[in-house]
């Protein structure tokens, strides 16, 4: 039996424009998370750590970061854990790349950095062949050219690239048919930032996802522990390592007033949560929600908060009974409704917001 820890997409050194002053702190958190992954590998006594690309966000890495990574690899070496490592599309191999500066394989004997061509590496003591292919100057490559012959009992793959999605054309797409035909006991993938399987047994292939929060709309924060007792019988377990969590909260504001919406959102705040609130539903003109105000309200309670108002204004005649056309508000609502209907999609977005803003202004002026 062999045990593996599969991670990818650390994106060390990444910039976080939405975090403001906390961007630097979160970059440090990426390192802490990497150290936590190493802790996990040591605790689980895995045989091999697989890093499926994008360990670095770019080639611009300080000596401090490289030293940190080297130290982590050496920790693994002291624990008898080897590392199979790929360059990803963010840190591809090539002249002047971070890899030529770091040269981990020179200082860390337990590290194998795969080249830009498909390359089998045999770990005799594990009776394991690992086939890997880094991203080179040509970008991600498909699995078609990977060797089929095995010289060991177990076979594991390591690749970085986007899996096939219907209707999406991408360079070096990893196709499920190739995954199946390779017959690997496990294929460790990198590139997508949310953990997910793209192929099931007996040839399982998984994206480990980013082990720490990187961007909105991405559910990361995990690594994958893989046990392969017998060829073709891989068992996969997702383990949480990330500190910060992305939480998407959809609130249907239909029939809710601002206080109730705020209460629903406040129930979700947490200092380590990146809260992505989406207001949906249909709201009467007199019950509009100020998304910006709501975002400001919850911003301090979360690691980061974003509130997007995707609700629509209830513009049916029944809803507008309270706003006769001869009134300014009534006339304004109807006018914007007409203009929105006739506008291009880009203009519609502006006009819909203008409708809500205008009505809110008029009603607050009337109330004041």
């Amino acid at each position: 039996m062999i045990t593996l820890l599969h991670t990818a997409d650390l994106h060390l050194g990444m910039g976080f424009p939405g975090l403001g002053e906390r961007g630097r702190d979160h970059r440090e958190q990426l390192k802490r998370t990497f150290a936590r992954i190493v802790d996990l590998a040591l605790a689980e006594r895995v045989d091999l750590m697989l890093i499926a690309g994008d360990l670095f966000d770019s080639h611009h890495q300080s000596e401090g970061t490289l030293t940190f990574v080297r130290d982590q690899f050496l920790r693994l070496q002291h624990g008898g854990i080897r590392v199979a490592l790929l360059a990803g599309n963010h840190d591809p191999l090539g002249e002047g790349s971070v890899w030529t500066r770091a040269r981990f394989e020179a200082s860390c004997p337990n590290v194998t950095l795969f080249g830009p061509e498909p390359q089998p590496v045999v770990y005799r003591d594990l009776d394991l062949t690992v086939i890997g292919q880094s991203v080179g100057p040509e970008g991600p490559q498909p699995l078609g050219a990977w060797p089929r012959k095995r010289s060991a009992r177990f076979a594991v793959g390591l690749a970085h690239g986007s899996s096939y999605r219907a209707g999406v054309v991408e360079t070096g797409t990893i196709h499920p048919a190739d995954i199946k035909s390779l017959g690997l006991d496990y294929l460790a993938l990198g590139d997508w930032h949310s953990a997910q399987a793209v192929s099931g047994p007996p040839t399982p292939a998984w994206y480990a996802g980013a082990p720490e929060f990187l961007q909105m709309d991405q559910e990361g924060g995990q690594v994958i522990l893989v046990r392969i007792p017998e060829p073709g019988q891989a068992q996969v377990r997702l383990e949480r390592v990330g500190r910060r969590r992305y939480r998407r909260l959809e609130v249907d504001v239909s029939g809710l007033d601002a206080d109730r919406v705020r209460a629903r959102v406040l129930a979700e705040i947490d200092p380590d949560v990146v809260l992505d609130v989406v207001l949906t539903g249909t709201v009467a003109p007199q019950m509009l929600i100020d998304a910006r105000e709501l975002e400001e309200t919850i911003q301090d309670g979360c690691y980061r908060a974003r509130v997007r108002n995707q609700s629509t204004v209830w513009l049916e005649e029944k809803a507008l009974e309270a706003f006769p056309e001869r009134t300014l508000v009534g006339r304004y609502i109807r006018l914007m409704r007409e203009q929105t209907a006739a506008a291009t999609p880009e203009e519609q977005s502006v006009l819909q917001e203008a409708l809500q803003v205008g009505v809110a202004l008029l009603l607050s002026a009337e109330g004041g």
Partner: protein, 746 residues
């Protein structure tokens, strides 16, 4: 608003007066000068005039003969709430009190509440709409501007115009705050411009930092490459230097081999010469021994031989000399013996000479004496000369002959001496020869030559021996022949060893030609320079890169800030876009709302006109600006202006009355100001009057009507008739009219 009562004090003709009104239609009737105009004026004063005014017109309101200004107290009711409005012009104070709730407002606030309740904000507007007098019924000119403005600003049933304006103002301010400085420089640029500038500055910083980092990255990459190059070049250099050194050693070895060979050859030659010298010395020794055995005159013997030989030789030379002298003397004697013989001439010379002398002397004398011829002296001279010569010559000849004879005798004597000397010399020669032979005999030689030859031979052999010995010594130097032989053997071994070393296969494999060595020297030199250059470059790059590692964190932070600012800029632009859309939407909506307001006036005016004209006319059109009124005349099937002669004066007044009532209704925006009518229907015939009063009754259900007239025909339609006496008696008023306001105010 419905007026309940009006109390006047010291207001023009009224010293003290109280009027009570019905909430609906009141007819205030009285003859001319009864105070109708004053009362109307008092109501307008109560509604509109600020007691704090400094206008001198206020002074005109004093009663005749009074120095102090008066006051008015108006009670009215709005939406079921009763108010009491007090205006004290003497003390320049205004106060409004909510009677039931006890609230009080003072000054301008009191005035604002009154106007708010009235619905018509200015006196002019009120006069142009709610005040109707017969003379002015067809004229909207007084308040045309106000009405037009009001109509264009009016918004029905929504937020008030002020709020709409506030919203648009706020939007305008937001847009300006966002867009200021975009089209022209501004001292305090707006949000978008500030963000644009910030983004541009950040982009410049980013570009600068990226360039610096790229340069540092390039330097570091170059440094890495150069280190590899230096290592490779140094390795090449070491290999080539070793190759060169080996070949240089080979060359040196080869160059050293030739002199070694020469030395070897010289040593061999020296040894050969030494051997030959030794052989020569041996031969010389043998020769000397043989010569010694034969006998060899020594140097003394040889000297004696030479002396004896010399004496023999000298004797022989003397003999030869004596011989020569004898012969010479013999020849001389013989020549002297021959001597000269006397000739005829010599015999005659002496007499002839004497003769010539005589003749000459004679001729001379003659010449001296004679004077005969001149030639005589000359001939005498010639003769004398010739005679002298001849005489002297003869004298000399005779003298010589005497000498010759003497010489002959001397020569003979000398010959004899010579011959004796010759004989003596021959004797001496014999003696010397005998001596010589005796000496030769002592040397063991037979001849002098032989003795000399042997002596010479000995000397030569000795000299040769010395020379050969010297040569041998020279060849040996300080060493012995054995040592020289050992040196030769060593040299030969050295040469042989070197020759073997140079011809080994591994050496042959490494060996290159002289030309190639030269080329290799150039290559090594070039490579050394290259390594030097690379090391210099490496040192420089190390210095440059050691000054500071690329600040990637700063770049990332800068990029974060840039993206944030770009997003903020986009948000600001969108906010401006949305604000513009809101503003344009609001402005359009307001514009749209204006049309219903005008139409409402037209609609209501049409309805009123329908009532007034009993269905004869029911459509009114108002063009604003300039508020020109038109009425639809069915008989003419067209819009016509309500004026004579197109329409009768009465019909025209009906149209304007209808328009005024409609304007009051629309412009007051839900408020219901009281209507003040001053005998308005003077042009109406009884049916029209009937219709007008019937309509007024309906209107009075909403708007209280105060109709001032001097005619009694309105009274039947009144809810209350208030008669105005020509000189009304002042009522009994207990206590002062003006009371201090309660302390509670708003």
């Amino acid at each position: 608003m419905r007026l309940l009562s009006l109390r006047l004090r010291h207001f023009r003709r009224f010293g003290e007066a109280v009027f009570t009104f019905d909430p609906r239609l009141n007819v205030l009737v009285g003859p001319n000068e009864a105070g109708k105009s004053t009362l109307r004026h008092a109501i307008l004063t109560a509604l509109f005039v600020n007691p704090a005014t400094t206008s001198k017109k206020v002074m005109e309101w004093r009663p005749w003969g009074s120095e102090s200004l008066g006051s008015v107290v108006l009670e009215f009711e709005v939406d079921g709430r009763r108010y009491e409005l007090r205006k004290d012009f003497e003390h320049r104070r205004a106060e409004l009190r909510d009677v039931l709730h006890g609230l009080t407002w003072e000054g301008t606030k009191a005035q604002e509440r009154v106007l708010q309740a009235l619905g018509l904000a200015t006196e002019d507007l009120y006069r142009a709409t709610a005040m109707i007098s017969q003379a002015e019924i067809a004229s909207l000119g007084v308040g045309a501007t106000d009405i037009g403005t009001r109509l264009s600003r009016i918004v029905q049933a929504g937020p008030g115009d002020a709020e709409a304006g506030t919203v648009i103002k706020r939007l305008d301010k937001d847009i300006v705050d966002l867009e200021r400085g975009l089209d022209k420089p501004a001292k305090n640029p707006g949000g978008i411009k500030r963000l644009q500038d910030e983004v541009a500055a950040l982009q410049a910083q980013q570009s600068d930092l990226q360039q610096r980092i790229a340069r540092l990255d390039e330097q570091r990459e170059e440094l890495r490459r150069i280190k590899i190059e230096v290592e490779a070049a140094a390795r090449d250099l070491r290999v080539q230097e070793a190759h060169l050194r080996e070949n240089q050693d080979f060359l040196i070895m080869e160059q050293q081999l030739e002199p070694l060979r020469v030395q070897e050859r010289q040593l061999a030659e020296r040894l050969g010469a030494i051997e030959k010298g030794y052989a020569g010395l041996s031969a010389i020794r043998h020769g000397l021994e043989a010569l010694q055995a034969q006998g060899v005159p020594d140097d003394a013997a040889i000297a004696q031989l030479h002396t004896a030989g010399g004496a023999v030789h000298n004797q022989r030379k003397e003999i030869e000399r004596q011989q020569g002298l004898v012969l010479a003397e013999e020849g001389r004697l013989e020549s002297l013996s021959i001597g000269p013989r006397p000739s005829l001439w010599s015999r005659a010379a002496f007499p002839a000479g004497g003769l010539l002398l005589l003749v000459g002397i004679l001729a001379g004398i003659l010449g001296l004496l004679g004077q005969s011829v001149a030639i005589l002296p000359l001939a005498a001279a010639l003769l004398l000369g010739s005679g002298i010569i001849l005489v002297l010559g003869e004298v000399r000849r005779r003298h010589r002959l005497a000498d010759l004879s003497h010489e002959r005798e001397t020569s003979a004597l000398r010959l004899e001496e010579r011959r004796a000397a010759q004989t003596a010399a021959r004797d001496g020669l014999h003696r010397e020869e005998e001596t010589l032979r005796a000496i030769v005999a002592t040397t063991g030689s037979t001849t002098v030559d032989e003795a000399e030859s042997r002596h010479r031979r000995l000397r030569d052999l000795l000299q040769e021996q010395t020379a050969v010995h010297s040569q041998v010594e020279a060849h040996l130097g300080t060493r012995t022949p054995e040592e020289l032989q050992a040196a030769l053997d060593e040299k030969r071994a050295d040469v042989a060893g070197r020759e073997v070393a140079l011809t080994r296969p591994e050496v042959q494999a490494k060996r290159i030609t002289q030309l190639q060595v030269q080329q290799l020297e150039h290559d090594v030199k070039d490579l050394t320079q290259k390594v030097h250059r690379l090391q210099e470059r490496q040192d420089r790059l190390e210095r440059e890169t050691a000054e500071g590692a690329p600040d990637y964190e700063a770049l990332v932070v800068l990029q974060e800030r840039l993206v944030e600012r770009q997003e903020m800029l986009e948000a600001a632009r969108r906010r401006a876009l949305v604000s513009r859309a809101v503003r344009e939407g609001l402005q359009t909506a307001r514009q749209d709302i204006l049309i219903p307001a005008r139409r409402l006036v037209e609609q209501r005016a049409g309805e009123y006109l329908n009532l007034l004209t009993l269905g004869a006319y029911d459509r009114v059109q108002i063009e604003e600006p300039p508020l020109r009124v038109a009425v639809w005349v069915p008989q003419a099937n067209q819009w016509m202006e309500p004026e004579e002669p197109t329409l009768s004066r009465g019909t025209a007044d009906q149209v304007y009355l209808a328009v005024r009532l409609a304007l009051v209704e629309v412009l007051a925006e839900g408020c219901h100001p009281p209507l003040l009518l001053d005998d308005p229907f003077g042009t109406f015939d009884p049916p029209r009057l009937q219709a007008a009063m019937a309509m007024l009754r309906r209107v009075s259900e909403v708007n209280q009507v105060l109709l001032f007239t001097c005619r009694p025909e309105y009274e039947p339609f009144a809810d209350r008739v208030i008669p105005l006496a020509e000189r009304p008696a002042p009522p009994e008023v207990p206590g002062p009219l003006w009371q201090q306001p309660p302390p509670r105010t708003h």
